[in-house]
Symmetry: C3
Subunit: 159 residues, 3 copies
């Protein structure tokens, strides 16, 4: 009886290209039967926001953050060559042409492959995000849960 | 007799949010009794600069770097939404409200928990930093020392 | 008989300072007799472009990307303080003064030490790069090959 390998990814970045890399590695690892966790923290939480505007009660600063941060995987910017949003459109067009799945599809596929999708509770609080604004069916946890997974991990990445 | 787990972090970034993530993980790991090393390199060295201006002899380029780089953990910028320094002030206010410790306190706590705080000697030299400008009681080492730690590490991250 | 330790690095970034960190760690690990792989993806592929302009057939968007992205290790920008190209020149001058090898020399040294230099095939396709434009003697592979290496790795980093 061999134990399953474990892969953990901290997704700190909210850039489209980095989130893409994270979800491609996660789906690949799940396909190789790894137990996979993606721990979303800080700007990486924007990947998990619902696309639609959800009416929730927020204080002034929380409203400001909510407005300035992209709502969901499809609205993220590129880390380089973003060019006011033209870069992401170009990349998405090229991805379609090369039959690479879009980020929202990769997230869906990760969920189907039982990748554990976790939002860092402390960052959720700091950025003033509410559970109603986030994708359904994700987990909320802290650094302790991350370390429990990662200290048994074969591949641990910070993206 | 079980061996203690080991966590190593290379802190390359000098952004407030990334340094925060590094020190939260480091303190968490130390609390779970890991042996923890944070290896500060390139811009991550700015986290370890003293806040006060220390008069040291520097050549022209070293002076320029010293002036352009932030002096200490409290002066770092955010990787996103820095808004000419308003972003960090906002985040610090929110952290206080949510009882999250500030970066300087997290560094202090890491030292109390015996997290090994290392400055990459080569980067110190390249950026023209002098030991008098750096926090007391830190270690100076190179890539060999890092690899010795990391190759035994359970969790190794590059931030 | 002890097994050789393994180090894998995903180089996602195309910044001079981050590529420098990657190649210094890789060369260090190889010197300590690790089996080392650097898996270049997205902007990290620019590190592997030839300096000279290679005439290849490209579509409009591929041409645009090719033009906007730096051609080779010597033309990369800094992640901070790039100052329209003055930053990299300054860093290169300081590196020479401190006898730190340049990035192109570090890549050469990595190859002499049998560091496996891999370009992510999917990213090559997305960015429209052609094999004729890339350094000779590198490998092309996908996430499966990366995971096979990394899941046996002692030190796995995402840079």
């Amino acid at each position: 009886m061999t134990e399953r390998k474990k892969t953990t990814i901290i997704l700190f970045s909210g850039d489209y290209d980095k989130a893409l890399a994270a979800y491609i590695i996660a789906n690949g690892a799940a396909a190789y039967d790894h137990e996979v966790t993606i721990f979303h923290t800080f700007w990486g939480l924007n990947v998990l926001r619902k696309e639609e505007l959800v009416p929730v009660s927020k204080n002034f600063i929380e409203k400001m953050f909510a407005k300035m941060m992209p709502r969901g995987a499809n609205r993220l910017a590129l880390s380089k060559m973003n060019m006011a949003g033209i870069g992401p459109q170009m990349i998405k067009g090229i991805m379609k042409k090369h039959n690479v799945q879009s980020l929202p599809s990769l997230i869906e596929m990760a969920r189907e492959q039982d990748v554990k999708i976790v939002a860092c509770q402390m960052s959720v609080d700091l950025l003033g995000l509410k559970e109603e604004e986030m994708l359904e069916g994700i987990e909320y946890a802290g650094v302790g849960a991350y370390l429990a997974d990662a200290s048994e991990g074969n591949v641990n990445l910070f993206i």
